[in-house]
Amino acid sequence: MSRATPDSRRWGVGIVGSGLVTRSIHLPVLAALADRFEVRGLWDVDFDLADATARTCRAIAAHTLEALLEDRAIDVVVIGSPAQFHARQTIAALRAGKRLVLVEKPLCSTLEEAAAIDCAVRETGGMVVVGAMHLFDPAWLFMKEQVSRQANAPALVRSCIILPPNSRFDNWSNEVILPPSTPAPSPAPRSDAMVIHAAIMGLAIHDLPLVRRLLVDHGAPQVLHAVRLAPFGYMLTVRAGEQMVDMFAFMHGHWRPEWTLTASAEDWQAHAEFTPSFVMAGSGQTSFATAESVASQPVMRDNGYTGEWLAIAAMLSGDAPPPDPDEVVQDFIFALTIAEQAAALIDKGACQ
């Protein structure tokens, strides 16, 4: 039975962080779902940015995270801060009684943090959804449905992420509302191992939950080989039982993106193509081929970001089951395992 939302059937949303993801993704999507959600508060360490952002959506900027979480009109909290703050802020939101926390990927930074989040979910009865938008993209949902009907698992899974710099998409997805108060600091020098770890937890993480769902034995992935590509990218060879995963990413300086996920079995092949992040270009598209025929799903109007919020609305209203906390944690462990193994291989002198 559906539960009515508390205020004119709209769920109140509070957002932690006023960066590109908030402005380019969540605010436009929530504005388009204004019959279900209302952004009521924002908090950012930069109060001026939070205030300027809040005014664009008629929300209130909070001076502290605690103040945001104390607002009883907020049912859902989005954690859009850097990953090192995810666990503490997610747990704080759950302990403040929020019904659901949408935390941007990755879930957190360590296994201990993941366990703490899991504990908080079970103790509070709150829900945690990780913003892995491709899990909610119609392209993946079609692919998952087709694959689930097959008798055999794919022998090979390939994740390919080829992207221009993110800055290419900024002006196509949002506008700068406040000049940066201080110039961004130069990035601290990082070892190659740290770079590949960050690339996996920042870029590969988009599709690792999908990859995991295509593997039969996903409990102990083994990174056999890792290469860091310049200027930014990786090539990973991963084995999971009898299955193998080819993970490739390359960020270049020109315009052409190619973001795909392919699963190949002896008698079938599924192939999804996704849009770059940030832009609202509709869903991905998928083909599913056998030796005799090809079924395909074209681009749909709603992308994974919208799908994510529609799923949240369904979870809040009781029309969909809550996310399984075990799955949430297992997705994180799977990604962290691959990142740590790849970093260790690079440390040991694998290719750069």
């Binding site: 022998a155 080829i162 590509l229 009898e242 020109h254 052409r256 190949s264 092949q269 081929a289 056998t290």
Partner: protein, 265 residues
């Protein structure tokens, strides 16, 4: 009768007839006494080729030789060189008529080249197709950095060179009956990118190719001609692109790498 007399050995007769019929002024199939022997590349191809050389035949077109012959060619190469035999390899992917213009279009610098492919052939043969395609496109395989393979899949990373530049070559193959068997090459550079997809069936289905730099993409023209028809046309003149011994040694080097990768299960 006019045209070059072509005799077949281990090559599908019906396919040979179709090819010859599409080149009626240039080629005629004969039962024996051919000026050029069109040989199929089944596993026993070195023995059949050696036997032909020993009876004095001099000109061969060798179609898609299987990789399992790797490491067994020393005697054959020696005999071919002593006898001044011409052997022109004809490989469905590497000799696709789109490959040469694609290679000519590549002028940038690349960090990595990926080739992904699928088909029903043995893993080693599909890896070989990818290595040969890479070489034909200008990316010369040097050594295997890492390879992993199973019954139905393989992933390998190699060191290669593009001109003077070092480049990573990534090969990925899956055995699958689904969809269309093909190999797709993508060259990845900071400011340039290029792609080439070559089909595995013997039809004259055109490869698709593009080259991208800055804000523009150039699509290369469609060529509706199969590798075998194109090679047979050249076989009439039999121009020396690479001396026979060198071509076979290069093939052997690539096949040895393919077998080594496929053995990493």
């Amino acid at each position: 009768m006019t045209g070059l007399a072509v005799e077949i050995d281990g090559f599908c007769p019906l396919r040979a007839r179709g090819l010859a019929a599409s080149l009626p002024a240039s080629i005629r199939l004969v039962e024996q006494g051919g000026e050029v022997i069109l040989m199929g590349g089944q596993a026993d191809w070195p023995e059949r080729l050696m036997a032909r050389i020993r009876v004095g035949q001099k000109r061969f077109v060798l179609s898609d030789p299987q990789a399992c012959a790797a490491g067994q060619l020393a005697d054959l190469i020696g005999e071919a060189e002593i006898s001044h035999v011409q052997i022109r390899l004809c490989e469905t992917h590497a000799d696709n008529p789109a490959v040469a213009p694609f290679r000519s279009s590549l002028v940038g610098h690349f960090s990595a080249v990926t080739i992904t492919g699928q088909g029903e052939e043995p893993i080693a043969d599909m890896l070989m197709q990818q290595l040969r395609l890479a070489r034909a496109a200008g990316f010369e395989p040097q050594s295997v950095v890492h390879g992993a393979a199973g019954e139905a899949q393989a992933i390998a990373t190699l060191e290669a060179t593009f001109g003077e530049d070092p480049v990573f070559l990534r090969l990925t193959v899956a055995r699958s009956r689904a969809g269309s068997a093909s190999h797709r090459l993508l060259a990845h550079g900071r400011g340039d990118s290029a792609g080439l997809q070559v089909w595995s069936d013997p039809a004259a289905r055109p490869a698709t190719a593009f080259y991208l730099t800055g804000e523009n993409t150039t699509g290369l023209p469609s060529i509706y001609e199969s590798a075998h028809r194109a090679v047979l046309r050249f076989a009439i003149a039999m121009p020396v692109t690479l001396p026979t011994g060198e071509a076979l040694r290069q093939w052997d080097q690539d096949a040895t790498m393919a077998l080594a990768i496929a053995a990493n299960s």
